[in-house]
Symmetry: C2
Subunit: 362 residues, 2 copies
């Protein structure tokens, strides 16, 4: 340890006057070095500054790390495009240009198709099931093994809860009504829709409203009532469909792996506990804000569920997508097998506990 670092440590923890009056400082046998040594980490996000729930969530996470460490762990949050473009946070952290990032796992499918599974599956696990699989069902081991190849160490860093199916300018009464529709829908959900005849398009967030309003696109999905209302979609489309393709999307706090390993056990524990706190609070906050926003939607909005034939076809299409991805990628196949193994254990219990209870409750 260099003298300069040690001075900083002592200054932070026991007051400057001790050390300035103390000639034997460097001989000291330090009991709790890492607590005193101030660590500063740069975190880049894929969200605009203070973006509701995702952005404010990571702001709170960073502040919480400061509180929990008595100020010895300082995480500075850089919103998208300040230090790093929104979708380059993965590469920048991998290359140790920044220390860590907060983003959605679904963005990195291009790096390895298996990553899409850690982000959540269409018609798949809810947030609670996703996190149980990742924490207790073998998901973390696989996720960390695969991210290690990019010098990354992932931690669950939030979840959206169930998302909605999206906004449509015309009602979808049959599968026929989907054919040829232009819809902004990314990821595996988009691949399923494509197999049902939809033409999935990608658009930057800032252009979606105008495209929907002018009819350049016929439909878009986003998140749920709270964030969708902020985008103004209720002014551009009347039919709001219930969700199927993102039942429990997972966000991540991911660190450069070498940076993570150099942190003290205490700072590692602080980041992990603060991430868990962010994750659960995000789920609860999405629930209440979505519930309030649903209540406050204008009267032109009709809540609809796709017809049963849509779900039959979507399940078939999803099975095809999974078969194709599994054939193309040994990693995808292996992660999906872990996911399915947990599913076989979890599904009968979820059916008799959560699902059955919600039906009884009415």
């Amino acid at each position: 340890m260099k003298r300069r670092e040690f001075l900083t440590a002592a200054t932070l923890t026991a007051g400057a006057a001790i050390v300035s009056g103390c000639q034997r400082a460097e001989e000291g046998k330090s009991v709790n070095v890492n607590k005193g040594k101030k660590v500063k980490l740069k975190l880049a996000t894929s969200w605009p500054a203070h973006f509701p729930i995702m952005g404010t969530g990571v702001d709170s996470f960073a502040a919480r790390c400061g509180e929990l460490s008595g100020g010895s762990l300082e995480i500075k949050v850089y919103p998208k495009n300040i230090l790093v473009p929104a979708l380059q946070v993965f590469d920048a952290t991998s290359a140790a240009q920044i220390d860590m990032f907060h983003s959605g796992v679904y963005y990195w499918k291009g790096k390895n198709s298996a990553f899409s599974i850690f982000g959540g599956m269409p018609l798949g696990f809810t947030s609670e099931e996703m996190i149980t699989w990742i924490k207790y069902g073998g998901g973390y081991e696989l996720w960390r093994e695969l991210y290690a190849k990019f010098n990354l160490y992932p931690i669950i860093g939030g979840t959206t809860g169930p998302q909605m199916g999206g906004w449509f300018k015309k009602e979808i009464k049959s599968l026929e009504d989907l054919k040829g529709l232009k819809m902004r829908i990314p990821g595996l959900g988009g691949e399923v829709m494509q197999r049902l005849g939809v033409n999935p398009v990608l658009l930057p967030a800032g252009e979606i409203f105008t495209a929907l309003d002018r009819g350049t696109i016929d439909a878009t999905e986003w998140v749920g009532p709270y964030l969708d209302k902020m985008m103004g979609f209720d002014k551009a489309a009347n039919y709001y469909y219930t969700g199927w393709h993102e039942p429990g999307s997972i966000l991540e706090i991911t660190l450069n792996k070498q940076r993570w390993e150099k942190l003290s056990k205490e700072h590692q524990a602080i980041i992990t506990a603060a991430s868990d706190e962010m994750t659960s609070n995000m789920l609860y906050e999405f629930r209440i804000r979505n519930a309030e926003a649903l209540r406050d939607l204008p009267k032109n909005v009709e809540i609809k569920t796709f017809p049963p034939e849509f779900f039959d076809a979507a399940k078939k299409a999803l099975a095809e997508v999974i078969a194709t991805e599994s054939a193309n990628s040994a990693d995808f196949k292996r992660v999906y097998e872990s996911y399915e193994k947990f599913n076989r254990i979890n599904a009968p219990w979820d059916a008799i506990s959560t699902k059955n209870f919600l039906e009884i409750r009415g």
Copy 2:
């Protein structure tokens, strides 16, 4: 600050040699006093030592507080009946005989009937809904106001997730089959059952199996497949009913209020974050352990759901119980109004998101 305390602080945080060689220590302007000052708290639980999930959860919570604080916060866990009898932890903490406790909120109905609502309601909120109401829907304000009258400061400290309806020696095909049955079932669920003709009995945990096995009682509820199997109920009864009366029971980490207020902001943050982490991990752990235990139940066990007429009658009986409790207690009335206010906002969103999705997923 006394010299002795200051020495301890500096020893813990910056190494003993600094202070021993430093005559100006007491003149030091301390930057982070509370981090260094070792705080020891005594926590009593209502569980046996290392009881699965509840007991191991609070063990992990205490260890986590140590890790997060770099050893400056030491919480010693005393299982039930070591320092304090299981159901006297509330009074002992109120009287500052111990600093804090870990228990179930449903135990304190005798102190104030309103407390039962914070523990969870029959046919009511799931764990996720309970926590959202408490954190974001006004529940915490009321809970803390009412606990303050007992010198207590409560924090959510775990949740069981959905519980099962219990074990019956005979199948329940109609309401008639319930009449006169002796069932071990406490709380509001017991009150509802009583109105349906059941004779609810209270038994210490250690006596339930023998009573069920010998037919001294006809039925018992406990928790869910994992803990129920440990009790051996699958060897004493064949009919295992799905849940309705404890869809999201809340556990608590509760501190003596004056003790809480004397803690540093940092130690308060550590206890709060570690409680949140325990709560979510407990929910996930219950999910996977219950799912595994359900899979492993012996073949004599039949999973059953009560007939529809049971739920119609239970809803009516519950409304009567709530009306009676509200008439008898202004606190109960006020807390229930807050609960119902959140329910009116939450229910439509839960119906189109979680419930609808689980039905679609199949």
